[in-house]
């Protein structure tokens, strides 16, 4: 204890003596009495015009990622071109080293020095490290608007001459500072305001209110994209294969066909078909009706009746066909054929009662009945439904990424 050297610095303006917590590591500090910022070796000093209150008090202690840090210094910085401001808290733990908490619009990043930054070797807009491939988000020059506490560098001198590169790969951020005299690199990660508040034993309400999506903030909902893509593709292929198998195994059999003429009604209102057999357990039945229409319509009510159980299925069908020429050009509309698709009709012997409504010009029609006809609509509905979640996920992600990058000059989103 007796050999410990006490380091003290005297304010160049008011001569107030400060004992820095960082001891010999402290290279710049602000006077506790008059607030002047000064460098311990050069005595270069600055008086700030505006005072800012830090959300994390100088000298307060908090645990971030399991390490207890002390807030050594606080700085408010401003980007020179667009003039947006952010706040930085300089943290120190004697056993672990330095770290920073950076806050902008209530969104926080926790940064530590990183010696393996690819920009130490050569410039690349997309540096790749073990955390992933990073993309350039911002390149700027900053100025210090305010500082308090103590720092291990001359934060005003180093910031004034530095070019800052910020690359992101959410939730990570790579910072690189380059000046004529020094290089600095930091690797950071988004940290939620709640974790900052918990770490420093503060009420979250005392932190700056969070606005919008932080530029390194991870999405609230994320999935393994390659797995999502794999599941979607495999499922679509499985659906396609099932459709093919079911098409191949469908009976698709014409079970009845007959031609009817109005004159055969003999004053009755309906035709009755002869009985026909519907095979399989539950399968679809397709009734196709044809009539030689020309500028005419055909309507009929049908009653499919099970001979054994008298179970009835009543449905109607109408079709029309119009044609002509207008200004020398032929036109047509509609069809002289209509069909009805009946789902899940049990097997058995059936007949159909047909109640036709003839027009004045058409007096005949032909009916064909098919059992277990292949159909595709369910397949397309299934494909649509299967694509909903991946489409919604990628749409949501695109929207959020667009938001994330909207303040960046290097955004690839429109």
């Amino acid at each position: 204890m007796g050999n410990e050297v006490v380091i003290q610095h005297s304010c160049p303006k008011c001569k107030h003596v400060t004992t820095p917590k960082g001891k010999a590591l402290t290279l710049s500090l602000t006077c506790e009495k008059c607030g002047v910022y000064y460098c311990v070796h050069t005595n270069a000093n600055d008086q700030f015009l505006t005072k800012f209150i830090p959300a994390l008090a100088i000298r307060s202690r908090g645990k971030i990622k399991g390490v207890l840090y002390e807030v050594m210094g606080f700085a408010v910085k401003r980007e020179k071109k667009y003039e947006y401001q952010w706040r930085e808290y300089f943290l120190f733990n004697p056993n672990v080293g330095i770290a920073f908490l950076s806050e902008y619009d209530g969104n926080w990043n926790f940064l530590k020095p990183y010696s393996k930054h690819p920009l130490f070797v050569s410039y690349t807009a997309t540096p790749t490290i073990e955390k992933g491939k990073f993309q350039l988000y911002a390149k700027y020059h900053a100025e210090v608007l305010y500082a308090s506490g103590e720092f291990f560098t001359d934060i005003i001198g180093s910031n004034e001459s530095s070019t800052h590169y910020e690359h992101i790969c959410p939730p990570y951020i790579l910072n690189f500072e380059e000046s004529n005299s020094q290089l600095g690199a930091y690797l950071g990660e988004y940290i939620s305001p709640a974790l900052v508040a918990t770490g420093f034993n503060l009420d979250k309400k005392n932190l700056p209110p969070k606005k919008g999506l932080g530029y390194t903030q991870p999405h609230s909902f994320s999935v393994d994209e390659s797995l999502l893509l794999t599941i979607s593709v495999v499922t679509l292929l499985a659906a396609f294969f099932l459709q093919w198998i079911l098409n191949e195994t469908a009976i698709n059999k014409k079970v009845f066909e007959s031609h009817f003429v109005q004159a055969d009604l003999n004053g009755q209102k309906m035709f009755t078909t002869s009985s026909f057999q519907l095979e399989g357990d539950q399968k679809n039945v397709v009734i196709k009706v044809k009539a030689p229409l020309s500028n005419d319509w055909f309507f009929a009510e049908y009653s499919l009746i099970n001979d054994a159980t008298d179970q009835e299925y009543i449905f109607t069908n109408e079709f029309e066909y119009y044609n002509g020429t207008e200004e020398g050009e032929a036109w047509s509309e509609g069809s002289n054929m209509g069909d009805a698709f009946l789902s899940s009709i049990p097997k058995g012997k059936y007949h159909i009662n047909i109640y036709p409504e003839f027009s004045t010009s058409n007096h005949e029609f032909t009916i064909s009945i098919f059992r277990d006809t292949p159909f595709y609509s369910n397949f397309f509905v299934l494909c649509f439904l299967l694509c909903l979640f991946p489409a919604a996920f990628y749409g949501y992600r695109y929207y959020r990424e667009q938001k994330r990058w909207e303040d960046s000059e290097y955004s690839t989103y429109e």
């Binding site: 999935v223 999502l228 009835e312 009543i314 698709f341 789902s343 277990d372 369910n378």
Partner: protein
């Protein structure tokens, strides 16, 4: 299993969807554009039987 985080329910829905689709195809149930059928009214029932058994 961590890769499945957030995708388990999707996988379950996919399996259920494929099963339901297969079942529907097998029983010939078209989900959309199926012709609407109605059970007959008593009057229609009587009318159909009378005609048929004439």
């Amino acid at each position: 299993m961590d890769r499945l985080r957030g995708l388990k329910w999707y996988l379950v829905l996919v399996i259920l969807g494929l099963s339901f689709y297969s079942y529907s195809q097998i029983i010939g149930w078209r989900w959309i554009w199926s012709t609407k059928t109605e059970p007959p009214s008593k009057e229609e029932q009587l009318r159909n039987r009378n005609y048929y058994h004439k």
